[in-house]
Symmetry: C2
Subunit: 219 residues, 2 copies
């Protein structure tokens, strides 16, 4: 059974792999805010327990086992977030921190019950998919809003790299999952977008924001 720290390493590798197919010692050291030597040591331990495939000086990848282990932690995290929002009434910008703690609980029955009470949801409150218990995950092929152009109509399906402050801003602007955007203008200078949605017109979203809004096209 991994400790909390080891679980956090597994998560970090999982996310890095998702971005870059692979993880490096340096990336992990940056991510975990520790010395590279600490990471090397830790990776050896994870390799010993069969959670990562590792040969020295080579990039790191999760093993089958580690993949499942990591996915289960992420499953717990995302189920918890969904539970906190849907059942307990928290705002979507409040739940990440709490879920960071709860995801390390061992009681499987707790998470199974959440799952059932929520009707076996397939995404968390930010639209991130919830892995199955066996580690499988259906990733939807959404693209970022920043990839579209004037005239396109898009529905918000997920927010990635979501920090509390980003989510709070979106809430403030009345943007949530399901919101439908019409792109009115794209500024060539800074790639910011002017969009309409709901009863809001001519709202400017910076590129930094648009990069994080994952949408599906509906026209």
């Amino acid at each position: 059974m991994p400790t909390q720290t080891k679980e956090n390493y597994l998560k970090a590798i999982y996310y890095l792999q998702q971005r870059n197919k692979t993880a490096t010692i340096s990336e992990l050291a940056e991510e975990m805010q520790v010395n590279k030597s600490t990471v090397t040591e830790m990776i050896k331990k994870l390799a010993d327990r069969g959670w990562v495939d590792y040969q020295k000086y080579k990039p790191i990848r999760l093993s089958e086992l580690g993949q499942v282990e990591a996915a289960q932690i992420i499953r717990k995290h995302r189920l918890t977030e969904m539970f906190l929002v849907d059942i307990m009434g928290f705002g979507w910008e409040e739940v990440h921190e709490i879920a960071e703690e709860v995801e390390h609980l061992k009681s499987e029955s707790l998470f199974d019950r959440m799952d059932r009470l929520l009707g076996f949801p397939d995404a968390d409150p930010h639209g991130s998919p919830i892995p199955a218990k066996n580690g499988e995950l259906y990733r939807r092929p959404y693209k970022a809003l920043s990839n579209y152009r004037v005239g396109d109509t898009l529905r918000l399906k997920a927010v990635i790299d979501n920090t509390d402050s980003l989510l709070a801003m979106l809430t403030d602007k009345q943007i949530g999952l399901g919101t439908e955007f019409n792109i009115k203008k794209v500024e060539p200078f800074d790639k910011s977008m002017v969009v309409d949605y709901r009863n809001c017109e001519g709202i400017t979203l910076t590129h930094e924001v648009c990069r994080r809004l994952m949408v599906e096209q509906i026209n």
Copy 2:
């Protein structure tokens, strides 16, 4: 901030104090299933941090601070149990283990939210009182069913020393909080009681059971 282990020591001292006004090294060693020397060492650390009043060879007591600290853990435990039963639909015999884990979470807002959703309950699903955040606790003056005699009518208000198997047995016998008992007979030989309740008549409860059923008299 206490570690999980230290929190468990605080709880253990709290419970022992409740029974005996005070806790000893030996009792704690037995309770925590560790060597006495381990306990001595740990108690010194707790004393250093101001959670227990301790002089060597003398009995141990929680300090004001330790009292509050312990009460808060117990608050979290009991709120969690209540939440698991009332909101999540677990049976009262299923929740102790889960709550043992959840009680160590640091997110205050989670427990505050549980509290609110439950309507600020004053007892857990087994009738044990829930401490306030400041550590205060209103202990009701219930007595054990075993203290009463033939002809008395009693309402079940709490189950103490509740193990999962005891609770499962009570559920099986259709006994729950609020159940009203009529004492029909008390066997002098083994102090077992024959009682009527609901639609059940002539049910025998051993002394071991009756000692753990805390009741109020209603006639």
